[in-house]
């Protein structure tokens, strides 16, 4: 009998302890960053070469030079073939690289490049690039690599882009609950919306 009682008390105690701990440390539940799967793209686009820092042989091109819709639209958009050609027709040195050959093949055929989507969120979620870019890049003047990096990680180090952040709801909220100044002008503090209806469509 004594054993039972001991056991009983022990169990209850452990349960309570674990429960309270979990409840209080819940933020720790947020899924940790992990790299998404490798994805076969029609052209292995070298992000590090275009967006990377000079020391790694990058050209530090602004993300929004190519993903030009990000500041005006929900989606950032994939650069049109014309844009790639625009620069590359004036860079004869790399013209015979296999990737560039592929690129020009598409251009000559006037065919769109079937890129695979890398950062894909569930269909019932509304993520708005414009809002985030407007808020952090234009209003708060954060460096674009940081702003895009919030969700896309350190793309400038990758060749073919891979998902670097979990992109789960808890992960989104972990940021939306943080306070930050709402604009350069005022020192008012605010945080992102936490209305379910803002992001669930």
């Amino acid at each position: 009998m004594r054993h039972i009682l001991r056991l009983f008390i022990l169990l209850v105690g452990m349960f309570t302890a674990v429960g309270c701990y979990a409840a209080d440390k819940a933020p720790a539940l947020t899924t940790p960053d992990q790299l998404g799967p490798e994805i076969q793209q029609p052209i292995e686009f070298p992000h590090f070469r275009h967006a990377g820092d000079a020391k790694d042989g990058g050209m530090q091109i602004n993300c929004m030079y190519c993903h030009t819709y990000a500041r005006r639209s929900m989606v950032s958009g994939i650069p049109p073939v014309q844009k790639c050609i625009g620069c590359h027709q004036s860079i004869p040195e790399v013209r015979d690289h296999p990737r560039i050959k592929k690129l020009f093949a598409y251009w000559d055929a006037k065919k769109a490049i079937p890129w695979k989507k890398v950062n894909d969120i569930p269909d019932f979620v509304r993520f708005n690039h414009e809002r985030h870019i407007q808020r952090f890049y234009f209003q708060l003047d954060r460096p674009y690599q940081e702003v895009c990096g919030y969700c896309h990680g350190d793309v400038k180090k990758l060749v073919v882009d891979r998902r670097e952040k979990p992109l789960t709801m808890g992960w989104c909220r972990s940021c939306h609950m943080k306070d930050h100044p709402i604009s350069k002008a005022s020192d008012k503090i605010g945080h992102g919306p936490n209305d379910c209806f803002t992001c669930h469509k």
Binding site: I39, V75, G77, P80, K116, K117, D120, P122, D123
Partner: protein
């Protein structure tokens, strides 16, 4: 083609942008997938396109003949929804449900996608060749063309084609059209389709004109009605009185709905003139003499309307001027329809409304663009021609006579008599099935065209004397089915067979239209010095081209001689009830029956969905022991149908009403064998003067077939009752203080 236009066509091709795919389930896959979706990018981006941001293109609604100007909401190369064009003088940015369903007409799964010769798919070349060699053997007058309402440049091409063939047989047929009204107006006012200024009137008395539902241009009239009802306007809130045997949507919104015995509308009109005289309105002596016999007592005897009611209407007409009297289908669908209409028009004349609320429209400066308006008389003529074997080769476009012609006309058999029948078809409907060659039409959202509406509405500030406009119809997305073609393209192809050298310049209808518009750009209100492309793009993107037309005059032309009415006939013993085929606001004459939104949106008055029904007055039903949901057999001298009973307070005890447009056999999955086709049982009675098929002249008898179904309707078990919940509350007008409203 211009660079800009190249971009636009190119843009139409682009599909499926990343991040904007339709979520196919709100609760489906919650996991985060990578590398599954493909994102297609532009090759060359048009500057005005931003993914996930909608573009709007102005065009013209093709769901009915009203010609409302609309905008298509286009995203990722797909048209998603239609909105009204705010600059339109017709619909002021508003739309009806029928118009909204246009996208379902466009995306319809039952569309014809390939040319079909004798039931087998063929290529276009084969199809055109077939037409060519059939036409080889026949003389011009042996070719006939049956269309619905048709206007603008398609009509021009059509006329040219018939001319090239040396044929004069163009029949414009609309199953539901105000043909008698046109004739009456011509006689009474001097114009076929005057402008009815409902918004200016203080009282509107309508004899069965369903101007809020399905009459001429409902969305426009609804706008006018809204202004007419505003208590805040200087004239105060307008009063609407509706005389009609079966309550229409308009009747449901009237201050007073008067269920009148079918066919006696003219009597009522003359009675009102007489009563007005009694109230001291000046009536020309000859007219007064002509209406003398129509004393309130007699009129109420004939029409079954209590004479206090008649006097009340006369009184309010006398007191509140200007007023407007409208004559609609319910008043005109009789052998004496024209007389009815004239008697009603006379009311406008004696009340001095002509020129005030009945305005003269301008006529189109280019008569070849003016609408060839349809009527039912032309079907009769066409049918006769077929019966006599006059026509060897016939074309049908925008009409479905095999479905909508009364069985008594034996149209189906006569149609077979023609050796080669070509149908320009959107669906594989009854007529298309009876045809030898079926040519697939592109939908109105994939096609170029111009439209000139029959009813000329004038925008605020527009010159009401001369304003007319033409609307553009432009493609909003790439064709769903590459083998479909617009009517313009087809006619052009046919014309090329006849007159190769005249038309070889135009590789498609687009270039023809482009050329035609630019040729007349001065007449279309631009300077000769303007750049063509700028002008063209501006015109197309506006969608509405104002023209300065020729002014007309309206005046009261009627004399006492025009006021002859046949004596009111007593009840028909064998067939005691009068059948009233109703044209509903959504399904209309049946051409829209295959658009599921319309089938699913309840009929406003009975709330029945997905089926036809017969409206019976509760008193009549009680007499015959009919309950709701009984399957009723309705028999006329020319045929019979079966459908479910709905007890409806808004119908005269001597009449029953069945909606037209149901009971299709070959339209598509949403229309086939839904309800019963009431056209089939109409008696072949015609209007004495115009020869138009008289819709309401069919006497019927009804009997229970013994079956009973549960009516599928939106209305709950409480029927129309509010169960003392005070949900939809009503206030008498003198309790309302409009000065407080905004």
């Amino acid at each position: 083609m211009t660079e800009n236009d190249f971009n636009r066509r190119d843009f139409l091709k682009v599909l499926g942008w990343g991040g904007t795919a339709v979520a196919l389930s709100g609760c489906g896959n919650t996991s985060i997938q990578n590398g599954k979706e493909i994102i297609t990018s532009f090759v060359t981006p048009p500057d005005y396109v931003i993914p996930s941001v909608a573009n709007y293109f102005n065009t013209t609604c093709a769901q009915c003949s009203a010609g409302c100007d609309i905008m298509g909401r286009v995203r990722e190369g797909r048209v998603l929804k239609a909105e009204g064009n705010p600059h339109s003088p017709i619909n002021y940015g508003k739309m009806c449900g029928l118009g909204q369903a246009g996208v379902q007409n466009h995306y319809n799964p039952d569309r014809v996608t390939k040319p079909m010769l004798a039931g087998k798919e063929v290529t276009w070349d084969q199809a055109l060749a077939a037409i060519n060699d059939k036409l080889g053997g026949v003389k011009g007058e042996q070719v006939a063309f049956l269309t619905g309402d048709i206007s603008g440049h398609p009509r021009v091409l059509l006329d040219n084609y018939l001319e090239a063939l040396g044929s004069k047989n163009h029949f414009s047929y609309e199953a539901a059209s105000p043909a008698v009204l046109r004739a009456a107006n011509k006689k009474a006012y001097g114009v076929e389709m005057p402008r009815y200024r409902i918004d200016k009137a203080r009282v509107v008395v309508s004899f069965g004109a369903d101007f809020l539902g399905a009459w001429i241009t409902p969305v426009h009239f609804a706008q006018m009605y809204a202004r007419f009802r505003k208590g805040t306007r200087p004239e105060g809130r307008g009063v609407l009185v509706q005389f009609e045997p079966k309550m229409t949507l308009t009747g449901a919104n009237a201050d007073r709905w008067v269920g009148i015995r079918p066919g006696t509308e003219g009597v009522m009109a003359l009675g009102l003139i007489n009563a007005l005289g009694a109230y001291g309105l000046h009536i020309p002596s000859d007219i007064a003499a002509a209406v003398k016999e129509y004393t309130p007592e007699r009129v109420s005897l004939d029409t079954g309307v209590p004479f206090e009611q008649i006097n009340k209407v006369a009184k309010i007409l006398k007191e509140r001027s200007p007023s407007l009297i409208l004559a609609g289908d319910a008043a005109e669908g009789y052998a004496h329809g024209l007389q009815n209409a004239l008697a009603i028009a006379m009311l406008n004349q004696v009340l001095g409304n002509i020129g005030k609320t009945v305005e003269a429209p301008a006529s189109v400066p280019f008569p070849q663009l003016a609408p060839a308006v349809g009527n039912r008389a032309s079907l009769v003529a066409f049918n006769k021609g077929l019966a006599d074997g006059k026509y060897k080769v016939v074309f049908t476009y925008g009409a479905n006579p095999v479905y909508s012609a009364p069985a008594a006309l034996k149209f189906q058999d006569n149609f077979r008599k023609a050796d080669f029948k070509v149908a320009f078809a959107h669906y594989m409907d009854e007529t298309a099935q009876a045809a030898d060659l079926v040519l697939p039409l592109a939908s109105a959202m994939e096609d170029w065209a111009t439209v000139v509406p029959e009813y000329t509405a004038v925008p605020e500030g527009g010159n009401s004397e001369t304003y007319v406009h033409m609307s553009f119809r432009q493609p909003m997305m790439e064709k769903l089915y590459p083998d479909t073609r617009g009517i313009g393209d087809m006619l052009l192809a046919l014309l090329k067979q006849r007159q190769p050298d005249t038309y070889k310049g135009f590789d498609d209808f687009y270039s023809y239209l482009h050329g035609a518009i630019l040729k007349n750009k001065v007449a279309l209100g631009s300077k000769a010095s303007d750049d063509d492309d700028v002008f063209w793009n501006a015109t197309v993107s506006k969608g509405i081209v104002p023209l300065s037309g020729h002014a007309n005059k309206v005046s009261g032309k009627l004399t006492a001689a025009d006021l002859k009415l046949p004596p009111t006939t007593g009840a028909d013993i064998a067939y005691p009830l009068r059948l009233i085929p109703t044209v509903s606001a959504s399904i209309r004459d049946g051409r829209n029956a295959n658009e599921p939104w319309l089938q699913e949106s309840p009929d406003p008055l009975t709330t029945v969905v997905w089926d036809s029904w017969v409206e019976i007055n509760p008193k009549t039903a009680a007499k015959l022991g009919i309950k709701e949901g009984d399957i009723i057999e309705i028999t006329s001298r020319s045929g019979s149908i079966k459908t479910q009973a709905y007890l409806f307070p808004g119908i005269h005890p001597d009449a029953i009403a069945v909606p037209v447009g149901y009971g299709h056999q070959g339209m598509g999955r949403y229309a086939n064998s839904i309800g019963a086709n009431v056209y089939s049982m109409l008696d072949p009675v015609f209007d004495d003067k115009t020869g138009d098929l008289a819709f309401n002249e069919t006497n019927v008898k009804i009997a229970q077939s013994g079956e009973r179904v549960i009516l599928v309707k939106d209305e709950g078990a409480a029927g129309g009752s509010q169960a003392h919940m005070r949900i939809a509350v009503q206030w008498p007008v003198d309790r309302v203080d409009y000065s407080k409203e905004v």
